[in-house]
């Protein structure tokens, strides 16, 4: 099992992950920059501190599961998996290339550590529910985590799954929502308003809390708290900034599905390393 990383090391890991994400996306020439950068702290806290998992044994039955329902943030997941030791970080530069173990969206059969294929939005919460129900049947103590996008919750299936999780009292499941406020066509509230999120999820029978999604300690506290909630599923709404960490990407809707240019990468690395 991976040993827990001291909290003070997380900012440096998050910085390295941002460097990796930007470099691999630039190399790939396409991909989703903004929503990968907004999820960095969430994934870092999960994989480096909170989750029980073993990169040397990806199929370890007692591991916690993670579902990247917002599959377009694959670069963030791949980078975290590589930096945890699931595969050589050199592989990151093969992102989106023919024959790569790193497909454009997550593929459970090609990437060590990816639990389920995703990419078509709205499906991950149902899958996470299924994992959690199965683990409960086996009386396993493993927990299931799932990361949703904010635009993603416009999908009706998310609300079907929200009902199911509460109905079946799936308390070994914790959903995190990357609330960066932007989707491809513009601000979420302008494209199709999803708010008020806490009220909606509470009304569906969930335990809901809201944290700064770039504050590792706040995320970790919320995850610990969620683990103590019994009889209902938990949602952590993570307030994030799309493109977080690079001044000229932050809160820019244009960088949802676009990779950095060489020049942008150079500037971005200066900001991160400077």
């Amino acid at each position: 099992m991976i040993s827990k990383t001291p909290l003070e090391e997380l900012p440096a890991i998050a910085r390295q992950i941002r460097i990796d994400i930007l470099t691999m996306l630039t190399h790939a020439g396409s991909g989703h920059t903004g929503g990968s950068l907004s999820a960095v702290e969430i994934l870092t806290v999960l994989y480096f501190v909170k989750m029980r998992h073993d990169p040397s044994n990806p199929q370890w039955p007692e591991r916690d599961r993670f579902v990247l329902s917002k599959g377009h943030a694959a670069p963030a997941l791949y980078t975290v998996l590589a930096r945890c030791g699931y595969f050589n970080p050199e592989e990151l530069m093969s992102l989106r290339k023919m024959g790569s173990i790193l497909q454009g969206h997550p593929d459970m059969n090609t990437t060590p550590g990816v639990e389920i294929s995703t990419g078509s939005l709205g499906q991950g919460l149902s899958i996470a529910n299924g994992m959690a129900l199965g683990l409960k049947l086996d009386k396993s103590s493993s927990r299931v985590y799932v990361l949703l996008g904010d635009g993603e919750v416009q999908e009706g299936q998310v609300w079907e799954a929200a009902m199911s999780a509460a109905h079946y009292k799936i308390d070994n499941l914790c959903a995190l929502l990357d609330f960066n406020g932007l989707q491809i066509d513009g601000p979420v509230r302008e494209i199709m308003n999803i708010e008020p999120l806490p009220d909606k999820w509470s009304a569906f029978g969930w335990d809901v809390c809201q944290v700064n999604g770039h504050d590792p300690i706040a995320i970790l506290d919320a995850l610990h708290r969620a683990e103590k909630v019994k009889g209902k599923p938990s949602l952590i709404i993570c307030e994030t900034v799309k493109g977080k960490g690079i001044s000229f990407f932050e809160n820019k809707v244009e960088y949802h599905g676009v990779s950095p240019t060489d020049k942008e990468l150079e500037e971005a690395l200066k900001e991160l390393c400077g």
Partner: protein
């Protein structure tokens, strides 16, 4: 194997494919503790209530939410469960089609989707509930095995086979009871068709209820001096190419018969095989690019030209092309 044709002197026994499914599933639950069953508010109609009664903790009623049901089944499969998912064919193959493609078939997960109420013989519920497209919808998805049993006996054999098969499977069952064709000695293998009646003049390739209708048609054709071979293709994908090609070479004329659109189903699958490997004059019996309508199953089979008489007409047409 013993074959009884509908209309023969022997008394024809009827069995519901969905009834057999419910009984067999509940029985398999003992042998396979990893089986879990998911249903979308149709546990009575799909007969999965039998499993529910026996194994309440391994049964999940997902409410009227088929997309969530498919996703949940996918998740259960990733942790080693063997999910059987059941609802009406249109809500099993139609409504959550993209969820099946993305979350089950692309990753190749071991989920069995067993639908009931396939085809036009759903009857009085009408067009919304008569699924005439599911074979095509499922056949086009990579990794998906597609099976339509011809009777209750075959349904039982199919269940024993798919529970041992690793990977996604779609099975189509029906609302109405089918005449029993096979006896217990019948040996079902995934992707293997079966000659259920010998004949040298023409081959009728059928699936589901239409196997029984084709046997009746063949008996009547015999009285007119036409020897029709009847083949049961229960596994529509992967289809038994060898059997179909050999039959077409022997008889030189093929009629397909299915309770499904003539677009995308068995007729299309047979045409794909024959046009590439053994071009043969063909006719397709099926729903001719139409929506369904309310009526009794018998009325609908007549209206959509799925009765033995229509098969006979098609046989005579195709024989003129030989």
């Amino acid at each position: 194997m013993r074959v009884k044709a509908e209309g023969s002197k022997e008394t024809v026994k009827f069995l519901g494919t969905r009834n057999v499914y419910g009984e067999v599933l509940a029985a398999l639950g003992d042998t396979y503790p990893q089986i879990v069953v998911l249903n979308a508010d149709l546990s009575g109609s799909t007969q999965t209530e039998l499993f529910h009664k026996k194994f309440p903790h391994r049964f999940f009623n997902m409410g009227i939410a088929e997309q969530d049901m498919i996703g949940t089944a996918a998740g259960l499969a990733t942790v080693g469960k063997l999910p059987f998912v059941s609802t009406f064919a249109i809500f099993a193959a139609g409504k959550p089609w993209e969820q099946i493609r993305q979350s089950i078939a692309n990753p190749g997960l071991n989920v069995k989707i067993v639908s009931t109420h396939g085809g036009i013989t759903v009857g009085e519920d009408g067009a919304s509930h008569q699924c005439l497209e599911d074979i095509g919808l499922m056949r086009i998805i990579p990794h998906m095995v597609v099976i339509v049993p011809a009777d209750g006996i075959e349904t039982r054999k199919v269940m024993s086979a798919i529970v041992e098969y690793k990977g996604p499977v779609y099975v189509r069952l029906s609302r109405i009871k089918f005449p029993v064709i096979f006896d217990e000695g019948y040996d079902f293998k995934i992707s293997k068709g079966a000659v259920v009646r010998a004949g040298t003049d023409v081959t009728i390739v059928a699936t589901g209820l239409m196997v029984s209708h084709s046997l009746t048609a063949a008996e009547l054709l015999e009285e007119e001096g036409i020897a029709a071979q009847v083949i049961n293709i229960s596994t529509i994908k992967p289809i038994d190419q060898e059997l179909i090609i050999n039959a077409s070479r022997t008889t030189g004329a093929v009629v397909t018969a299915e309770e499904h659109s003539i677009i995308g189903g068995l007729g299309s699958a047979v045409a794909e095989v024959l046009s590439e490997h053994s071009p043969t004059p063909m006719r397709r019996i099926g729903i001719k690019d139409q929506s369904g309508t309310s009526g009794s199953p018998a009325e609908l089979l007549e209206r959509y030209q799925l009765n033995p008489q229509h098969i006979i007409t098609a046989v005579k047409e195709v024989l003129q092309q030989k």
